[in-house]
């Protein structure tokens, strides 16, 4: 019980710290800008305006979320070490595991808030585009699929955040942790592509015959392309509830596993 309370307080403190960075205000400004940009960009096209609008909105959420994870998230984690605030926390009855989970959840709350703000602004601009050009709305377009795609986007960011926490827990410098986290994100985005190229194509160049290695890598790195549902939302394609639940389960289990390893590695880290 005390552990949960510690985690909750740490999460709240981290979230408050994130808001004090004025990151959310920057996001609100960005949301307003992107809403206007969405209207402008959509007008540049003659067909599939609904698709352009939905995809632009969801991509804006993804891009801003990544900026938050890599810059705000890593900065908050690094500040604790650089300003020695971590010792204040760890000198109390708070374990390293609780500290990392608390930080992770606090940053996750900031991401959730940002996703909601950006998602709402994107929704408003999309509603306007879809209302103005009803002929270009995909035949099976569904707001439910759009919300599910938005949720998947947030889950994907949570997985990237967990990977960032892991990198932070063993990297000697925050910059190295940032580079590693960006690399994990890029590998994760292309994991499915690599897996399919090697498994389905017998002439995969240097990777021919390395199927087992690629399969092993696909289990180690996050498969982020599974969370990318922009295409389904933009064209109103089917997205089953079962797949959505499996994605939620995958994100939770994978993130939990990364946080578990983070706690182990962080104990070995030279803090002083």
């Amino acid at each position: 019980m005390q552990a949960l309370r510690n985690i909750w307080f740490l999460a709240l403190a981290t979230c408050t710290e994130g808001i004090r960075h004025r990151a959310l205000w920057a996001i609100v400004c960005l949301a307003a800008l992107l809403t206007m940009a969405n209207l402008g960009v959509t007008n540049l096209y003659s067909w599939d305006l609904g698709k352009v609008s939905v995809e632009f909105g969801l991509s804006a959420v993804a891009f801003t979320g990544l900026l938050l994870v890599f810059f705000l998230g890593m900065k908050i984690l690094a500040d604790d070490l650089e300003r020695s605030r971590i010792f204040l926390v760890l000198s109390r009855p708070v374990s390293i595991g609780q500290y990392l989970v608390g930080k992770y959840l606090g940053l996750g709350m900031i991401l959730l808030l940002a996703t909601i703000i950006l998602g709402l602004s994107a929704t408003l601009s999309m509603r306007y585009v879809l209302w103005k050009y009803p002929a270009y709305v995909p035949p099976d377009f569904s707001w439910l699929v759009y919300v599910m795609a938005l949720t998947c986007q947030w889950l994907s960011l949570m997985v990237v955040l967990a990977a960032s926490v892991l990198c932070f827990s063993f990297a000697s410098q925050p910059f190295i942790a940032l580079l590693l986290a960006v690399s994990v994100y890029m590998v994760g985005q292309n994991m499915e592509l690599l897996r399919r190229v090697v498994l389905e194509n017998p002439q995969a160049g240097a990777l021919s015959g390395q199927e087992n290695l690629v399969i092993a890598l696909s289990w180690i790195f996050p498969n982020l392309s599974f969370f990318d549902k922009k295409y389904a939302a933009a064209y109103g394609l089917a997205f089953s509830g079962q797949e959505f639940l499996l994605l939620c389960l995958y994100a939770i289990s994978y993130s939990a596993l990364l946080l578990f390893f983070s706690a182990i590695l962080f104990k070995r880290k030279e803090l002083a």
């Binding site: 960009v41 540049l44 096209y45 003659s46 067909w47 599939d48 698709k51 352009v52 995809e55 632009f56 991509s59 993804a62 891009f63 995909p138 035949p139 099976d140 994907s156 890029m186 985005q189 292309n190 592509l193 190229v197 982020l224 392309s225 990318d228 922009k230 295409y231 933009a234 064209y235």
Partner: protein, 291 residues
């Protein structure tokens, strides 16, 4: 002091001269190789590399690439010395423009802007890239099962550019099979497919279309009539083939065919016309003058 000032000034002048020379040379080179610069871009990368580069922003990349294609296809205006603008006969790098469309489709195979703009430019003079356009349309048709337009365009290209009425008919019938397709596509498709010697295919596709339709639906009777007419054509074609197999030549007329006993009587034509056979042996159900 003066010597140091002179040296500094001299160094400053040399550096400024170097900067001016290098920058102006770069600008000149940029003007000379302007068109080759526009043919270089991420669209030249292999599809796998493009997908890897785009990551989760494939849709945005596709949007950008279609805009790039549009910019390369657009008219070029040059300001005249006396004021106003004149249109320049632009050099279009068609293989490069085709690569942009391909790259855009790799990123987002369903995007309508890609196949519609490609259809508007690539199969026509001076690009003459009909086969390439058909491939782009085929990808779009497979990725957009709700849209009849890619197959409609494929049918048009097959008929107009490739002079393949049979293939065109098949494409029109496939277009007619998609939801909310206009009624005329099935009639047009059946007519072209039969003309191209693909009567059986036309019958099969029309039958499959009728199974999805409500008999009360407008146009149902038209499709049914066309189906019955095609079935009549097929019966005559099969009888003609038997005649040819038996006697070693085609019948000169349908009367000769029925007189031979291979076909007892001509089937009924729902259009209240006589079936007709032209000099090459093609059977028609809608040719009143039968020439």
């Amino acid at each position: 002091m003066n010597r140091r000032l002179n040296a500094t000034l001299l160094l400053g002048l040399i550096l400024s001269g170097l900067y001016a020379a290098s920058y102006s040379a770069l600008l000149k080179q940029g003007r000379e190789f302007n068109h080759s610069a526009s043919s270089a871009g991420i669209w030249n990368l292999p599809p796998g590399a493009l997908l890897a580069l785009a990551g989760e922003f494939k849709g945005l990349f596709a949007d950008y690439l279609t805009m790039e294609a549009g910019a390369q296809l657009g008219t070029e205006l040059v300001r005249k010395q006396e004021g106003g603008f004149r249109v320049v006969k632009k050099h279009y790098d068609w293989p490069n423009i085709h690569r942009i469309f391909q790259a855009a489709q790799t990123m987002d195979p369903s995007f309508a802007q890609t196949f519609i703009v490609a259809q508007g430019w690539l199969p026509w003079e001076p690009a003459n890239m009909v086969v390439e356009t058909q491939k782009i349309l085929q990808t779009a048709a497979l990725s957009r099962p709700w849209d009849w337009q890619p197959y409609r365009s494929m049918g048009f290209n097959a008929y107009y550019f490739l002079n393949q009425p049979g293939e065109a008919g098949k494409f029109f019938l496939q277009a007619a099979n998609t939801p909310n397709a206009p009624q005329f596509l099935s009639i047009l498709g059946a007519r072209l497919a039969q003309k191209g010697g693909a009567t059986k295919t036309a019958i099969v596709i029309m039958k499959s279309m009728l199974t999805d339709k409500n008999p009360e639906e407008p146009g149902y009777v038209d499709i049914l009539d066309r189906l019955h007419a095609l079935e009549g054509v097929l019966l005559i074609e099969q009888a003609t083939a038997s005649y040819e197999k038996k006697l070693g030549r085609k019948p000169s007329s349908l009367t000769e065919l029925t007189a031979s006993g291979i076909l007892a009587a001509l089937p009924p034509n729902p259009y209240n016309l006589d079936y007709c056979m032209d000099t090459t042996g093609v059977i028609y159900f809608d040719k009143p003058d039968c020439l």
